[in-house]
């Protein structure tokens, strides 16, 4: 196990290194410079500004500098946002994104598990149809469409929630709902398939024939065994929540990293784009790693050593 984790961490660094290099050279290939709209700058001034950001050096030197900086946890300075270091820019904006992301994941997973379980237990009844319908809606309607609709009806028309504000818990409810739809749909569907499988297995038959109440069979046996595989879809779910957060944060004007990412794209702020790309990838790889380790811990039958090969 320890060996496996160490190996995975080693791969993590290699992957991050490749991603960082790729992003760096991609950014260098970009047409235009962040200073192109400052037409009034004289060539001398431009030279000074470029020197300030280290853009006067050759690409190779810049690359080495960037990589060394990365090792020290330095992601460079933003061109646009008050020359702030990218790390502090991310740091300030991490909390709202994390809060909404975590809330959406929790709400989506819990509701999804309930919905999927109900659908499986009441298979082929109206409850099943309704649950399946809700999960398909959650899966299919893009989060940004849902966000706009929620904002219009719940916030603007019926004034239940604030329209676009970030201060207390109440203001986080709408974005959470908009983001939770996709995990909810995914989990509910997955859960239903798993649970239908489990409910027809021998040990459930045995538990029933021993005279256990239905409730006990479901909570003690069926639910537990169906939950294990759900762990595997946490990774992809995290990705979808991250993706969704970029627009949803924008729509509800939440000062999070998703909103920052979109903003830096529209303003050609390369260091911030690069920093956030690396940061997002880092988060994602960590999530995948944790999920894999968790899965190994929960279900020891999975041999981690051979990377899941048959």
């Amino acid at each position: 196990m320890t060996k496996y984790i160490l190996k995975r961490i080693f791969y993590l660094f290699i992957t991050l290194f490749i991603i960082a290099s790729l992003t760096f050279f991609l950014m260098k290939m970009l047409p235009g410079t962040p200073f192109s709209n400052q037409n009034r700058m004289s060539p001398d001034q431009l030279k000074i500004v470029k020197a300030q950001y280290g853009l006067d050096q050759s690409v190779g030197v810049q690359y080495v500098r960037y990589m060394v900086g990365l090792l020290h946890g330095n992601l460079g300075t933003s061109f646009q946002f008050n020359n702030e270091p990218v790390t502090s820019l991310i740091g300030q904006r991490l909390a709202p994104s994390m809060q909404i992301g975590a809330q959406a994941m929790i709400v989506g997973t819990v509701l999804g598990i309930l919905l999927g379980a109900v659908a499986a237990i009441r298979k082929n009844t109206w409850a099943d149809t309704l649950a399946t319908f809700v999960s398909i809606l959650g899966l299919s309607i893009p989060s940004f469409v849902l966000a706009v609709l929620l904002q219009f009806y719940l916030a603007y028309k019926w004034r239940i929630f604030p329209v676009a504000l970030w201060d207390n818990f109440q203001s986080s409810i709408l974005p959470t709902l908009a983001l939770a739809a996709l995990p909810l749909g995914t989990v509910a569907r997955f859960m239903r398939t798993e649970m239908v499988d489990v409910m027809s297995s021998d040990y459930i038959e045995l538990a029933k024939s021993k005279g256990n109440s239905n409730w006990k069979v479901v909570t003690k046996h069926a639910l537990r065994n169906s939950l294990i595989p759900v762990v595997t879809i946490i990774g992809p779910m995290a990705v979808s929540v991250m993706t969704g957060s970029m627009v949803v944060e924008n729509i509800f004007s939440i000062p999070g990293i998703g909103e920052q990412f979109v903003k830096s794209i529209t303003t050609n702020d390369y260091p911030t784009i690069m920093g956030l790309t690396i940061f997002y990838s880092f988060l994602l790889i960590i999530v995948y790693l944790i999920v894999d380790i968790l899965y190994g811990l929960i279900d020891p039958r999975i041999r981690l050593g051979n990377g899941g090969k048959e």
């Binding site: 992957t15 398909i136 893009p142 706009v148 398939t193 499988d197 990705v239 794209i265 784009i273 994602l284």
Partner: protein, 341 residues
């Protein structure tokens, strides 16, 4: 022990002598696998409804130039932001009346539109017919979906087959590459590519293609690994068949269910990405319509003119729901065990 009385032979009679052969006959013709799949698919009502809906949408987009009532990009600023109106039918919400300061006003008359003008779904802020724009936008979304699927098939399938077939070191290297590509969030790669390339259809397809093939390659590889051990492959090898021929003659037909099902999930993904990119403003450039740009335009005016957002939102959702459900139906049809517990 009591003796069993003899039963006279005349008491035995053949029942239904003439029908005997008829009964023994196998009634239904034996079905090939694909026929069986088709039968199971058409038994699934939801899948049939989705298939019909999607066919209608595809047909409308293919014949968009004939069907669309107006040119999608022609502007007429005097007729901007008109509400939906369906001929002279007086259906509430579709009669060209608009709430202005608490009073319902005939927006068409106010804008000075010539008599008889009607836009079924209204017009946008530049006076362009929304219905035509939605038809053309759907067409564009479907083009993105088709191209993304093609790339998926052209890169993902061969990659997966080669990786699975060769095995060993080749496989390890190829899988490492897959791991690295898939560990970057798709959207980030797509966005990076969109920044570097010029916004437009080609860039969107390239950007989606760079990340999209990974899942397909993974599935195909896993399946190839299993197929490789099958006896008919061994037989083909023993007979001296070349690897390319085995791949095209034996592997691909047996992989077809995996490939078709995965394709059905690539399509909504591609459509979502296009809409997403256009929505945040780095997708299809103006003035061309796509579902994403229509949504983003509609969102800006949603407070006062909700119909401008509703129409594209509904179409996009219908396409997404229908492809997802059809994908489910196809999976059940190809693999009946997955649903018949």
């Amino acid at each position: 022990m009591e003796q069993i009385p003899q039963i006279p032979k005349e008491k035995f009679k053949l029942v239904h002598d003439e029908n005997n052969t008829e009964q023994e006959k196998i009634g239904t013709p034996s079905l090939t696998y694909m026929q069986d799949v088709r039968r199971r698919l058409f038994q699934n009502k939801v899948a049939v409804v989705c298939l019909t809906l999607l066919s209608i949408i595809v047909l409308i987009s293919v014949f968009a130039p004939i069907i669309a009532p107006h040119q999608p990009n022609v502007q007429n600023v005097t007729l901007s932001n008109l509400p939906p109106k369906l001929g002279n039918l007086n259906i509430p919400g579709m009669n060209g009346y608009q709430n202005m300061g608490g009073k319902m006003v005939d927006a068409y008359k106010q804008a000075g539109a010539p008599k008889g003008t009607s836009f079924i779904l209204g017009t946008d802020y530049l006076g362009r017919d929304l219905l035509s724009r939605i038809i053309y936008g759907t067409r564009l979304s479907l083009v993105v979906a088709v191209l993304a699927t093609l790339v998926d098939l052209l890169i993902g399938v061969p990659y997966g087959i080669v990786s699975g077939w060769k095995g060993g070191r080749t496989d390890t290297v190829m899988q490492r590459i897959v791991e690295i590509v898939s560990s970057v969030p798709n959207l980030i790669v797509v966005i990076l590519m969109m920044i570097i390339l010029k916004p437009g259809l080609t860039s969107i397809v390239i950007a989606i293609a760079i990340t999209g093939w990974v899942t397909m390659a993974r599935l195909v590889r896993a399946q190839t690994f299993q197929l490789k051990e099958q006896e008919y492959i061994l037989a083909a090898r023993t007979l001296g068949e070349s690897s390319t021929k085995i791949a095209t003659k034996h592997l691909i037909p047996n992989l077809s269910s995996t490939i078709i099902i995965q394709t059905m999930f690539t399509i909504p993904n591609a459509i979502f990405f296009e809409a997403f990119l256009s929505f945040i403003g780095i997708g299809i450039p103006a003035p061309n319509a796509s579902l994403g740009t229509l949504l983003s335009d509609g969102q800006k005016a949603f407070r006062f003119l909700p119909y401008q957002m509703w129409a594209p939102a509904i179409i996009l959702s219908i396409i997404m729901i229908a492809t997802n459900l059809l994908g489910d139906g196809l999976r059940d049809a190809f693999d009946p065990q997955s649903s018949e517990h």
